[in-house]
Amino acid sequence: MTLDLRGLGAGLVCAAAVLVAAGPAAASGEFDLATRLAMLGDYEGSLAEYEMFLRDHGRHELAPLAALAAGNLHAEVREDYEAAARRFDQVVAAYSSSPWAPEAARRRGEVAEALEDWRTAGEAFDEALELAAQQGNTRSADWINEVTAHAGDAFYHLGDHDRVLRTYRKVIDSDPPAAVAATALYRMAETYEATERPEEAARAYTQILETCPGGSREVAVGVMGKRDLIDRHVSFDWTPYDLYGEAAQLMEQRSYSEALQKCTAAEASCRNPRMLECLDFAKIYLETTLSGDYSTGYRRVEAYVEKYPRPQLAEEVGTTLDHWSQIVEAEVESKRNPEDAAALASLGTLYLRAGSLEAAVRTLETARDLDPERPGTRRMLGYAYNYAGRQADAAREFEVFLAANPDDTNALNMVGYAYMGQEQYEEAITYFRRYVELAPDEANAHDSLGEGLYRAGRLEEAAREYEKAVSLDPSFYNSYFFLGQIHREIGNKQKSAEAYERFLELIPDGPQADEARAALQDLAGQQL
């Protein structure tokens, strides 16, 4: 588009009348403009707009957010931390009741952290927690945990361990969600340990199991790892917790019957009402998954939520309600239209996601038989067979799906692994190669091909694929594990150790971690 600029001046004068009047619409426009300028990379312009917005509309409801954004731009773009700090302080001081005040205090803390001003950082993070608590703790559990951790770390840097403990105690006393309480107690316990107060540490660890055993799986596992310390200072009955932990592992392996047995045994030996709450939910989940009776299961969960309005396992309960309600509706739909292949496929998929494998296979098989040409059904049935350990059936279904969707990389990967499950490695490699052709920049593609080649005994080629995988994604830990294996087998001890070490850096507690550690010890022994 061209414009005759000679007329521009006159045009400007003529058009002088309107716009950019004071008022909410104009104010929002300036705010939007700041966003747009940032999109265009004009950060100075964006910052100027936010600053102008604050000057002209300091009482607008978006003013604290503008100040927060301006502070972030000062920090991120200009690296002017003093200016950033001023803006964050302004949000806290002038807009303390706004929902962005806790966030501004947090950012203030981060700026101070960057300057290693630990006192200011700790106090700012503390203030963020206080503001969040005043606003009814509407922040997410993750937010509170992170800010608490930063506050604790800041005071820890100062050597002010009492302040560290007071920060955590304040969070715990504010009646937070179980996930937050568990994490705060754990950090308290770690601080006690670090300051050589083992008895207090032991009590803090056991307090987690007594008051919020379902708050955080990671924390619970951590506490179980402190058994020796706890046993030296506290008399504690581990039985129900051990059984619950075993049940959790069995659930991950989809061994639901055995998991249910463990939960029942745990219930029989447990006196802790908080633990009984978690066991109650676990049993509802397992009994429903095994029976496939989701209507009853859904009603049981609804009753559970009435009994425990602030459940420890809040996320699991919410997800289960959402998922099972879909199943119940889909079951009603299928009963109404028993010949509707699409409805059955939908229901079968829901069963599969819920872990009811038998119901999933049965329903998806019926859907397939009603409409064999429907590729989506064949794909989901392939997954169901795969989970059920019926690899030959899985391969067959995925191949039908692939005939209609030859470039579906997920299906190619699944067929490959179905053949791997039958030890037909060359067939698997064919599919993995196609996967790599279609997705050459996907680490997983090279990792899968690497595994096929490794199982087929083609070690050098496998190593090349795994190297490619980690070059595309340096956090792809599975590839490091296999590189460790391969280099060990071909006698390259140095590279093997490096690969295992990198694997353990990425995933120190994973299922293959013990194997990796044993291999490293073995390699070290060989070098002596």
Binding site: A15, A17, D32, M39, G41, Y43, Y50, E76, D142, Q326
Partner: protein, 306 residues
Amino acid sequence: MKPTVTRREFLKRSAALGAGTALASTGLASAALGLPRLDFHRPPIDLAIAKGPSPVDNCLAAVEALGGFNKFVNKGDRVAIKPNPVGTSPPEMAINTHPDMIEAVIRECLKAGASEVVAVSNDDRRSIEGNGTWAAVERAGGTFKILNDRSMFREVVIPRGRVLRRDMFAIDVLDADVFINMPIAKHHAGTRVTFTMKNLMGINYDRIYYHRTDLQRCIAEATSAIKHSLVILDANHALLTNGPGGPGRVIQPQRVIAGVDPVAVDAAAMQFFRGKPEDIGHIRIAHELGVGEMDLDRLKVKEFDA
């Protein structure tokens, strides 16, 4: 493209000529200086919800209620559109945005004087061709660009971000004069629903980062970095279960929801799904970040038959 003259410098020059700031809103001055247009049409209502059996009629009627395409698109504008073009299913399965709607929008943009209309996404070509979107875009005179190379993205700072301080987004969207987000209303196994904001995950470079950190927050913070000119949400069919890929339970609300506020549009789309807008993490966080309004009682909503 980084502007060579900022808006403030332009305003200073305008003042020296004895002018007001009005022309900035028409876009003429920005265009004169080679800047992408910086002003935005503010419709008389916040949300338009058009209902009827025809997706195209619903779409056109909804935008008309907001002022019409001529209010959003000026002569010479570069327009970027982000549909949801995933999968090879027909529109009745509610997996992808209705191709007829996409075609209609492109035609209207060109009629309003757009110099080019580009549809963008990072989905694979086979899907986009298989569900009819590619042909629809080309028939209407647009171009489809698959975002499959790093050079097609540019990093931006996200001033309101915390987990997402910076991210790389499609240059075609960042530099467009008009950005139109055209999602479909679907269930999503990871985020519970996928509407406007989740649809932006098709224009950013590193989606894995979102999954690894805090998916809901990243979606909200990404939305804070992208200025929507217009949102047109396809709720002619809606996928209620097994999203985003299906197959699942499909209902037919026979509606299109249009607005300029992505949060408001998403909040309105929740009416077809279980739960309230504040139950969805990215809707709630985006509201908290000031990206938009999720409380529909505070908005002017017009629902009508197309």
